[in-house]
Symmetry: C2
Amino acid sequence: MENKKRMRIEDLGEFGFIARFSANFLKKLPAGVLGIGDDCAVLPWKGSKKLLVTTDLLIDGVHFLGEKISPLDLGYKSLAVNLSDIAAMGGRPRWAFLSIAIPPETEIAWLDEFFRGWRQLAARTGVRLLGGDTTKSPKGLVINVAILGEAEGRHLKYRSSARPGDIVAVTGKLGEAEGGLRLILRNISNKNLRLEGRYLIRRHYRPRPHLEEGQFLAGQPEVRAMMDVSDGIDSDLRRIMERSGCGVRVFLEQLPVSNQLRKCGHEFGWDLDEVAAAGGEDYCLLLTVEARKFPALAEKFYRRFGRPLPAIGQITGEKNQLRYFRNGQPVVLSKSGYDHFKL
Amino acid sequence: MENKKRMRIEDLGEFGFIARFSANFLKKLPAGVLGIGDDCAVLPWKGSKKLLVTTDLLIDGVHFLGEKISPLDLGYKSLAVNLSDIAAMGGRPRWAFLSIAIPPETEIAWLDEFFRGWRQLAARTGVRLLGGDTTKSPKGLVINVAILGEAEGRHLKYRSSARPGDIVAVTGKLGEAEGGLRLILRNISNKNLRLEGRYLIRRHYRPRPHLEEGQFLAGQPEVRAMMDVSDGIDSDLRRIMERSGCGVRVFLEQLPVSNQLRKCGHEFGWDLDEVAAAGGEDYCLLLTVEARKFPALAEKFYRRFGRPLPAIGQITGEKNQLRYFRNGQPVVLSKSGYDHFKL
């Protein structure tokens, strides 16, 4: 008992935290309301439409490095990571609320740039800033963004709908943002980086939320489960497994890795499986598709977006078993996912 | 120009910040949508109902003192201050989203207590926690709460509806939370405090959002402007003045000050005008009422809530002029309001 009382949040981890504290809040939700456990909460809206709500807290030193990222990119990215949660449900983002705690020595020119970056993406995606909160911060910048979006109720895609046999696919390349982060942390100045390295860094700082892809896929009944790739597929697939009560086989040779990432990985000696499977922040979409309809869907996706929809694995009935294979042989990944409580 | 670029956020202040950065976001909002500038944003909802959205960011060392407040009280208060914004519009709170950044050494028992405090108020007010975000914090606790509520569109009360001649009233005693904070900062142990002092501290830690009062007042057409008292009436009245394009006269002898605050003020030598007018966090409601209908409203309020609705001043046509009087004589207050950017 005493031991339990002395347990710390770092012992529990993020999944343990959510499991411990969400149980009490999930009881007896009214019909048509979805709470904790997916990319967005879902509420009744007008007629057949549903209201989506998502919120993300970004802390200097945890989610971004205030001394490295430009204010323009930070403004853009603060909005982008939240829009990605709306994309993951197949929704359309509508309204944003920005809470920001600012160290008092921050220059106004810095904030002008932050809001310019925000507006670049807001204008492109039709999101209106409706409110928020501003305050000082004694230590480092803190940003909380909440987004409200909408979607047709029958089009919504959840994490809990994967079924054994489904094909697992992704809508973009994997590992680029992680590759970019590794380069940023090496402190190589931009002019000493090749074009490929600069490309990866840009992919880290300016992720594109896959809103059109999400809306298109939401309209396809053969798409079963969907979420965005925020912590890396290793971590994100575990969430689909938990919510759907299934397992996953991932075929490493099928992970879509760009030439830019290959070149940098070769130059710096990275394990590309690890970068692609356990690296976070790509913000493309991860989905499961009824197997026999997958080829036709991939073709439709190609016609619509001009690029393939790579299959990277398959859902199994082995509850909570995430297994990796390379050319048919089981392999063990050297690292697994990102936990928001491990420092 | 160079000077302007080097300006810092502390030079701008909170009002300056909002003025500078909100302008761009307020343009061309669709009909039926209200953005930045009131206690809540207002969105279309079902039929005649409106959706209210409010969000508040709470930072250790700015909005609360992590080493002093109990986790039970902090959980309660994090929700209470947000519910107060819903009360200010006359709405009913429905759904909550909690983002929390937690230092890794935090004990789980601490979090259990935090959520117990949250639930005490959530259960009483019918608010359901539907989501949020959890992450580690390298330095101190960070809490962001977003609340969605609902209200009849024709009942909504805004900051912008005050008219010259209106009576200004408040729904509760003023300055108690500020008195409590002053005692907390003196580090007097609880057992060395009189009952009155303990009462003030409790009023600081456990503010009651005036939801029933807000809903009742929202239904009265003679109530024109309304907001909650979060930064102190001195600061909050300035917001009504700005939004309504008017001025205010405050009659200091009419400010409702409790016997508990009087006793402590006497003991510790406080300027009670300053405590009552410039002290924040009382979270009662501040409203303006069509003058000739005020007596009947105050009587109705008394019948409904068993306590008076004190008139504390009057709206004037002198734009942005906030003037204090004591027994008819103009006086100058020694302090004015709280600014979230001044450290």
